[in-house]
């Protein structure tokens, strides 16, 4: 009888799935929400930034709840992308497109978040760049950066929302077709809301 190779890919994959929701998903919600303070102008926004800067154990929190989960989720995600062979031109079903877009946005986000973290956190640590409303607004004035931000925000909103849909099947929360369909609709709504919130926050810098 063919022996089944024992390995831990199941647990890796489940950790990948779990990290996508907790903490990364929660962080995305928080991040979109916090940045929305920009709608109320520079003073309010800068105040929020100050608040976060003063958090105790900030670096540990960032490392444990943001950077490490992102790195693990992103790198394992790349491996997942590698194992797939999309066939959307032959089989153009809705869910098959969602499968492809999930992977495309995942790869985009790997670059986008790398860049985003660099300009907002790493450069602050290395060169003491003062991250503020003005700094962001200055950066977004460059149309390339602006559109790159748009792509990043939409990708993040989609990847997170659609990720919830997959998460629910993977963990056996939505098992039946009706539940999956319903969850599909709900996550599309979530995507639209998140994209709206994110873009609105971005536009708030666009003076």
């Amino acid at each position: 009888m063919t022996e089944v190779a024992v390995d831990n890919s199941f647990y890796y994959r489940r950790i990948h799935s779990l990290l996508g929701i907790f903490p990364i998903g929660l962080f995305i919600l928080e991040h979109f929400f916090t940045n929305s303070f920009a709608v109320h102008g520079a003073a309010v926004y800068n105040g929020k930034i100050e608040f976060f800067k003063e958090l105790p154990y900030l670096f540990a929190i960032e490392l444990l709840f943001i950077f490490l989960p992102l790195a693990i989720h992103g790198l394992y995600g790349l491996y997942i992308v590698y194992t797939g062979e999309p066939n959307n031109l032959q089989y153009g079903y809705f869910r098959n497109w969602m499968y492809l877009i999930q992977r495309v946005t995942g790869v985009i986000l790997l670059f986008f978040i790398g860049w985003h973290v660099y300009v907002t956190r790493v450069s602050a640590l290395l060169y003491g760049t003062e991250v503020s409303y003005q700094y962001m607004a200055q950066m977004f004035r460059n149309p390339v950066v602006f559109w790159w931000m748009v792509i990043g925000i939409i990708s993040a909103a989609f990847h997170f929302a659609n990720g919830i849909w997959s998460f629910c099947i993977v963990w056996g929360i939505t098992t039946g077709p009706r539940a999956q369909k319903w969850m599909g609709k709900a996550t599309i709504v979530l995507f639209l809301v998140l994209a709206f919130v994110g873009i609105r926050a971005l536009l708030a810098f666009h003076i």
Partner: protein
């Protein structure tokens, strides 16, 4: 022309030779399906250009879409040739072998892997023997009706052909296996092997490699609720993992 059928067929004369295309034109008959076209080619193995060739090899058995043998790619879509009626197809009808399995010859592929995987997950009820031991366990009819649908799987491989995660880069066993695991885990005596099956699906090529593209359920000729099975078995492995972690 209305009274002939044009076909474009991807051919390959042996497992390691390179594929090539040939075109054929065969007389049309009433209610004709793709199988009947291939039989016509056997009767007159000559290409559209009048070149003598060998008859096209293909697999078939029941011709009623219950055996799964004649699965191939017809006009870009994987399906059974017997239920592919010429009147519903755009011409030339393009026939190709399935792409996810090694080609033996022409349209014939080797799908042994699917049967091997059934063995891996112990897709059987471990009965004590065939001697008389009275009836099996009672099963409520509504439950029976749901699981009967799963038991119609004819191992044709459509779900694997369209699965972006089923390929040479991964060992993913695919929807067919996951659905069979659901079926046998449901059965009161089949459930004796439930943990074994779930542990196989928690290993290499198991359920976690599913990417939820859900193409499988779109193309399943028996309309088996494969994605339901994936969700259901997803729940079973989640619980099994918790059990393994906290109760052992």
């Amino acid at each position: 022309m209305a009274d002939t059928v044009r076909l474009r067929i991807k051919r390959q004369l042996s497992p390691d030779s390179s594929p090539f295309w040939e075109e054929f034109e065969v007389p049309m008959t009433h209610g004709m399906n793709v199988i009947a076209c291939l039989v016509e080619i056997q009767k007159n193995p000559v290409t559209k250009d009048g070149k003598k060739t060998t008859p096209v090899a293909w697999e078939c058995s029941c011709l009623e879409e219950v055996c799964g043998a004649c699965t191939m790619i017809i006009n870009g879509r994987v399906r059974q040739a017997c239920s592919a009626l010429v009147k519903d197809l755009e011409q030339p009808i393009v026939l190709e072998p399935m792409t996810k399995f090694p080609v033996v010859r022409d349209l014939v592929v080797d799908r042994q892997k699917m049967f091997d995987n059934l063995m891996k997950v112990k897709a059987w009820v471990p009965i004590d023997g065939t001697h008389n031991m009275g009836p099996g366990p009672k099963i409520p009819e509504p439950e029976r009706a749901i699981h009967y649908e799963l038991s119609k799987c004819m191992t044709c491989g459509c779900c694997l052909e369209v699965c972006p995660q089923f390929n040479e880069k991964s060992d993913f066993m695919g929807a067919q296996i996951i659905s069979q695991v659901r079926l046998f885990n449901f059965h009161p005596s089949g459930a004796s092997l439930k943990e074994d099956r779930l542990h196989v699906l928690m290993g290499k090529g198991g359920i976690s490699e599913c990417g939820n593209a859900q193409n499988c359920v779109e193309v399943c000729p028996k309309e088996i609720p494969l994605t339901h099975s994936i969700g259901e078995v997803g729940r079973q492995v989640t619980l099994q993992a918790l059990k393994d972690w906290f109760m052992k």
